[in-house]
């Protein structure tokens, strides 16, 4: 079993599945709370983390995580104080992106392969990366299980949450932090540009077939896992970039599910 981990392909698939499983429930909240832009903005900002990590020669994951967490926390603290959330996200993510690109350009000694961070480099997942991803996934899964009901009720309405003794603002902060963690983890897998897709597409795919929130999260995890395995295989056999291939499979599943739904609707309407 451990020897299997010496195979880069197996490591890549396991890492992808780890991210897909926790991206599913978080992606559901992203859809329900209409924060699609949050994932994107946090991911873009984490370029700064990547650049800083490289210039201080520390872990890229750590750098990205710190910047993503700073984004998540400042958004939670600042929102509702005169700026809409998307305005704050726009200001902070693009500023961080710009600073990140400037820092990266100053790193003359190093040739950074920016492509690897923009589109992911899942085949380069090492044993330590895999360890981080599995641990991160376990922690976030435990967190989601623990806060699930409170997160759901605050998603519905903050006043209803308050009446039930749940602080919606705090739940929002916790959710933002969890999202920041997954963004930092997914950079290696699908890359900065495609993280939001990894969150949203699986959840959107199963939306029409779900009758409970739990069902939606579990189905979305299934779609995510299928996308990772399918995308990795396509990438291996057709020599495609792995991250984009994973998202392409997810997008195809989204289209297929909608066509299926359309057909059943037409059938029942007849």
């Amino acid at each position: 079993m451990i020897a299997m981990l010496d195979d880069f392909f197996i490591r890549a698939v396991l890492a992808g599945i780890g991210v897909a499983i926790i991206a599913a429930p978080l992606g559901c909240f992203v859809i329900w709370r209409r924060m699609a832009y949050f994932g994107d903005a946090t991911a873009h900002a984490s370029i700064l983390g990547v650049a800083l990590a490289l210039s201080f020669s520390t872990s890229v994951f750590l750098g990205a995580l710190i910047i993503a967490l700073m984004m998540a926390i400042s958004i939670s603290v600042l929102s509702g104080r005169g700026y809409a959330m998307d305005t704050l996200l726009g200001v902070m993510s693009h500023s961080a992106l710009a600073v990140g690109l400037v820092v990266a350009s100053l790193l003359t000694g190093l040739r950074i392969d920016l492509m690897a961070y923009l589109f992911g480099d899942i085949l380069a997942v090492g044993k330590d990366d895999l360890f981080i991803i599995i641990c991160g996934a376990a922690i976030i899964a435990a967190f989601i299980y623990w806060r699930w009901s409170a997160l759901l009720v605050s998603t519905l309405n903050s006043d209803l949450a308050a009446a039930a003794g749940v602080n919606a603002k705090r739940e929002q902060l916790l959710l933002n932090i969890a999202l920041a963690v997954i963004v930092a983890m997914a950079i290696k897998i699908v890359g900065i540009l495609l993280i939001a897709a990894m969150l949203i597409i699986p959840a959107a795919t199963v939306r029409l077939f779900s009758h409970t929130p739990e069902q939606m999260a579990i189905f979305a995890a299934g779609v995510g896992i299928v996308s990772v395995i399918g995308g990795m295989n396509a990438s291996y056999q057709l020599d495609l970039p792995a991250g984009p291939a994973i998202i392409c499979v997810a997008a195809s599943l989204f289209i297929i599910s909608n066509l299926m739904r359309l057909m059943t609707d037409m059938h029942s309407a007849r």
Partner: protein, 275 residues
């Protein structure tokens, strides 16, 4: 009588804006208190303060162990969130099957339990929200413009349901309402709010108070006349519900209605022509 809620010198600020200042408020067991006031008067803020959704200055004392049921204003439902009524009532804490059943029955919503929230009509959803508020058998039921978005028939039947709930549970009710005819007919006490409490007292007292009349721009006679009229009616016809009669008072010309076997509460007429 015990006070369920005692607020003293309560103020709420948001940024530079003072939303509420120097509010003194008591709600006693079993009474119906209605808050009226123009848009932006802080009515919802006051209710949200009582349920702990807003920070405030001043003192707010709740009776120890007070159970509060809260029905928010018509709330936006995210259509992408699949949620059945049963699941909704079990959020965030799983409730006893029996409590859920009783609450749905009290809110006349038993048949809705399996439905998805997003498939409910406005009136059905308000009844489900009411059921949710009733699960922990509240001593105080807080309604924030609970009938916003319902038509007059829907609002009427909702308020009738509230009346039934109050009789069975014996809870106090604190509500915000724009429907002045309901306010005037059903409240023990009316609080007229515009950032501060302009006046409060019996419906009669408030309706004749200059502060109230100024706020609502009503010519003083209409609201009161309406109230009186309604009241007289109650007495006149309380023993003869079942006959048919047509009203044609001057301020209800657009609303001539033929009452068949309806109860006397239906004599109230929508105030939309005035408000």
């Amino acid at each position: 009588m015990t006070n369920l809620v005692t607020a003293t010198n309560l103020s709420v600020k948001r940024g530079q804006n003072i939303l509420l200042h120097e509010i003194d408020l008591q709600v006693r067991a079993g009474e119906i208190v209605t808050i009226v006031g123009p848009n932006g008067a802080g009515k919802s803020t006051l209710l949200r303060t009582l349920i702990g959704a807003t920070s405030f200055n001043g003192t707010l004392q709740l009776k120890p162990g007070l159970t509060i049921g809260y029905v928010p204003q018509k709330l936006h439902l995210e259509p992408s969130l699949p949620l059945s009524v049963r699941r909704f009532l079990n959020l965030p804490i799983r409730q006893k099957q029996k409590d859920i059943h009783n609450a749905l029955e009290a809110a006349n919503a038993t048949s809705l339990i399996r439905q998805q929230l997003r498939d409910l009509s406005g009136g059905e959803f308000q009844r489900v929200l009411l059921a949710r508020a009733l699960i922990n058998k509240p001593e105080l039921l807080i309604l924030d413009e609970a009938t916003q978005g319902l038509d007059h028939l829907g609002a009427d039947s909702f308020y009738r349901q509230i009346e039934v709930v109050r009789q069975t549970l014996g809870c106090a009710i604190l509500m915000v309402s724009h429907e002045l005819h309901v306010v005037m007919a059903a409240s023990d006490r009316v609080i007229c709010l515009n950032g501060h409490i302009c006046c409060e007292g019996t419906p009669d007292f408030v309706a004749s108070n200059p502060a109230y009349q100024e706020l609502f721009g009503l010519d003083s006679s209409s609201a009161l006349a309406l109230y009186r009229h309604h009241h007289d009616h109650n007495h006149d016809h309380s023993h003869s519900h079942s006959h048919s009669h047509i009203h044609s008072h001057e301020h209800e010309q657009e609303h001539i209605r033929n009452h068949g076997h309806e109860h006397s509460h239906d004599h109230q007429h929508p105030m939309d022509s005035q408000s």
